[in-house]
């Protein structure tokens, strides 16, 4: 079995998930300059909600993929409502506040959601029922499951749809205008509040999808899963250039690849000094390196500050 190809495949799968979550961060950041720290928790709520639905239906005669689809369909509106509420309650009142105030409420929301997740679903790890075909296919000496193919394809489709939405629709135009300058967009008749709500709702829907994907891919879900995933996805967004949607996708996929290749080869690279437990160091190290040489991320605008 070819380890290199295998790590590339794993990295692509992981990267697609990161990209979906990173989009949520980057869209919110692009529009309101806020790090939505609670976004990872939305992913967690999405994963666990779908899991509950799936467990409920797993005993019925419905075919596995349909059950997962219903689970997903249930999680998406829940997350959308959640994203909408978070923005309304915790961020909107603070638009004119000092920059760090919404960051602290975001942290507060994140803590609250985590605890709510724990109260509802408990401290235990939940196994994701094996409803999806996981028989591996062999290509180029590596294995890939239908589920993995599905994840990559679905993520790509969603991102394509999102790009279409932002670049060709009225809502998309309003979003871009708001990102450029909310005050002017407002003067031009854009309902800025509505656009911000829509952004949160879309981001949260992506989070729900990503949540289901991670838990299906790793067959596990947990009330704490959102934190690390969110962190990684945020890293990916910054790597690509935060506020830039293409950057989030690129950053997500890159980070996935870096992590999985890093984990596979870090031992060889360092002559056995560092093991795969340094996987996260690798990710952050690459991030720092990129930012040192490109302070606005890979695809971020080079903002020579106007003086």
């Amino acid at each position: 079995m070819d380890i290199f190809i295998q790590q590339i495949i794993n990295g692509l799968v992981l990267g697609s998930i990161y990209a979906l979550v990173a989009l949520g961060y980057t869209m919110v950041y692009g529009i309101m300059g806020l790090i939505n720290f609670a976004h990872g928790e939305v992913v967690m709520i999405g994963a666990l909600t779908s899991l509950s639905i799936i467990k409920l239906l797993a005993g019925t005669s419905l075919p596995g993929p349909v059950v997962v689809l219903i689970g997903l369909a249930g999680a998406i509106p829940v997350c959308m409502a959640l994203g909408f509420t978070i923005e309304r309650v915790a961020y909107r009142p603070l638009r004119a506040a000092p920059r760090l105030a919404p960051l602290i409420t975001a942290i507060g929301v994140s803590i609250v959601l985590q605890q709510v997740g724990m109260l509802i679903w408990g401290r235990n790890y939940h196994a994701f029922p094996g409803l999806l075909p996981t028989t591996p296919r062999h290509i180029l000496g590596a294995q890939i499951t239908d589920l993995q193919v599905l994840i990559v394809v679905l993520a790509a489709l969603i991102m394509a749809a999102l790009i279409l939405l932002v670049n060709t629709t009225r809502i998309g135009r309003a979003m871009r205008a708001t990102a450029e300058n909310p005050d002017i967009a407002g003067l031009m008749g854009v309902d800025v509040n509505q656009i911000i709500s829509i952004t949160f709702v879309i981001g949260s829907a992506l989070a729900a999808v990503a949540g289901v994907m991670v838990s299906a891919n790793y067959s596990i879900a947990h009330y704490y899963m959102g934190f690390i995933l969110g962190l990684k996805a945020f890293t990916a967004a910054v790597l690509g250039g935060i506020g830039n949607m293409g950057g989030a996708m690129l950053g997500g996929v890159l980070l996935g690849l870096i992590e999985s290749l890093g984990a596979g080869y870090i031992g060889d690279l360092t002559g056995g000094f560092l093991g795969s437990n340094y996987q996260d160091v690798f990710a952050f190290f690459v991030l720092i390196l990129v930012l040192v040489f490109r302070p606005s991320g890979l695809m971020g605008e080079k903002l020579a500050e106007r003086a």
């Binding site: 950041y29 300059g33 790090i35 309650v89 915790a90 009142p93 603070l94 004119a96 506040a97 000092p98 920059r99 760090l100 105030a101 919404p102 960051l103 602290i104 409420t105 942290i107 507060g108 929301v109 994140s110 803590i111 609250v112 985590q114 605890q115 709510v116 724990m118 109260l119 962190l231 945020f234 890293t235 910054v238 935060i242 056995g272 000094f273 560092l274 093991g275 437990n277 340094y278 996260d280 160091v281 952050f284 190290f285 991030l287 720092i288 930012l291 040192v292 302070p295 606005s296 991320g297 903002l303 500050e305 106007r306 003086a307």
Partner: protein, 366 residues
């Protein structure tokens, strides 16, 4: 940048009397808290003092210089591990604390410069994620440096660390003073209070100085600060170094106090906690930051002990896991405070004015 005291408070007689009163209160506090509520609460007070030092250190970076640092706890870790390695059976070294603490502060300060240097060109939120990354990197190394050479003892952490010893007396054992038994937590309290006062003194002096003004100038407008002849690179590094050295100092104290360190104590959550103290108290305002440190150190403990008791009193049984309820309330408190007081609980008077006048900013920034 002087504090705006009411007229009577500027009277020298008042400040003299005030100082004596504060001193008496600080000396008496352990007997009130420890005697009245038990020594476990004195432990909470002790760690609150460590948090105050941490918050004041982070306040230099975030509050004064305006550099958002999400990996600050790494410097606490550096100080703590340095103490642990130099005063424990790990390497068989047993240096005295008065050597290790300054060394820890210095080494942490150096780390501040090393980790700060690559971030100098980064704007606000990019800086946040890079510092966060550094914080995680430090923690991951602490977690894994037990092989191939065992330096940090990995996730198990380092135990049997020497307690702080002053004049041959270990602070980990109770002492007899004038026939009074003074427990260990009181002794550490007195040590921590002295050092906290020192940290406060240094911070206050720095704030009202050429360096402090340069920090605030960078926070207010970096481009203008450069054009005014401020070497922003050095002045930012200085902020990182000063902040980090406070972190290193309190880290060392933490190691001596707990006599045990493990990577778990230095998670991202801790960095976030200290940041919350700074912002919630009132960024850039020393009394506010101290208040934030005290509140956020004590509140979770009050909630921890209260969460079970109140539920029983209210409902006759435990409905929600107290640990979870405590964090839930903590999160809600963060949200509520920020919604109602976006500039923090006790912001600088000028910031309060700024909030009142929000939106009328004349000619600032293109």
């Amino acid at each position: 940048m002087r504090m705006n005291l009411p007229a009577f408070a500027r009277d020298p007689r008042f400040s003299w009397v005030g100082m004596v009163l504060v001193a008496v209160a600080l000396v008496a506090l352990p007997f009130v808290v420890g005697g009245g509520f038990g020594n476990s609460w004195m432990r909470v007070v002790d760690s609150a003092l460590l948090y105050i030092m941490l918050s004041l250190g982070l306040n230099i970076v975030v509050g004064f210089a305006g550099l958002l640092d999400l990996g600050y706890i790494a410097f606490y870790a550096v100080g703590a591990y340095l103490y642990a390695l130099l005063a424990s059976p790990q390497f068989g070294l047993h240096l005295p604390f008065w050597v290790i603490l300054p060394l820890g502060a210095a080494v942490a300060g150096m780390f501040g410069v090393i980790l700060g240097a690559p971030t100098l060109r980064l704007r606000g939120d990019y800086l946040a994620i890079v510092t966060l990354g550094f914080g995680e990197i430090v923690r991951i190394f602490l977690n894994n440096l037990d092989a191939p050479v065992n330096v940090t003892n990995g996730p198990q952490g380092i135990a049997q660390i020497d307690p702080v010893r002053i004049g041959g007396a270990a602070l980990s054992k109770s002492q007899q003073w004038f026939g009074l038994t003074v427990p260990s937590v009181y002794l550490y309290y007195y040590l921590f209070v002295v050092l906290t006062l020192l940290v406060i003194f240094v911070t206050v002096r720095l704030e009202d100085s050429r360096i402090g003004r340069a920090w605030v100038a960078i926070r207010e407008d970096e481009v203008a600060a450069k054009a005014c002849g401020i070497d922003t690179r050095n002045i930012k590094l200085l902020a990182f170094a000063m902040g980090a050295s406070f972190g290193g100092l309190s880290g060392g104290l933490f190691a001596g106090f707990q006599q045990f360190v493990s990577p778990e104590s230095f998670s991202l959550l801790e960095s976030i906690m200290v940041l919350c103290m700074v912002v919630l108290g009132g960024m850039g305002h020393i009394p506010g930051v101290i208040l934030g440190g005290v509140l956020l150190a004590v509140l979770p403990e009050v909630l921890r002990s209260g969460a079970g008791i109140w539920q029983r009193a209210l409902f006759g049984k435990i409905l929600i896991d107290p640990e979870s309820l405590r964090m839930l309330l903590f999160g809600l408190a963060l949200i509520a405070v920020m919604l109602y007081r976006p500039a923090g609980l006790w912001p600088e008077a000028r910031r309060r004015r700024e909030m009142a006048a929000a939106g009328e900013a004349p000619g600032k920034r293109a």
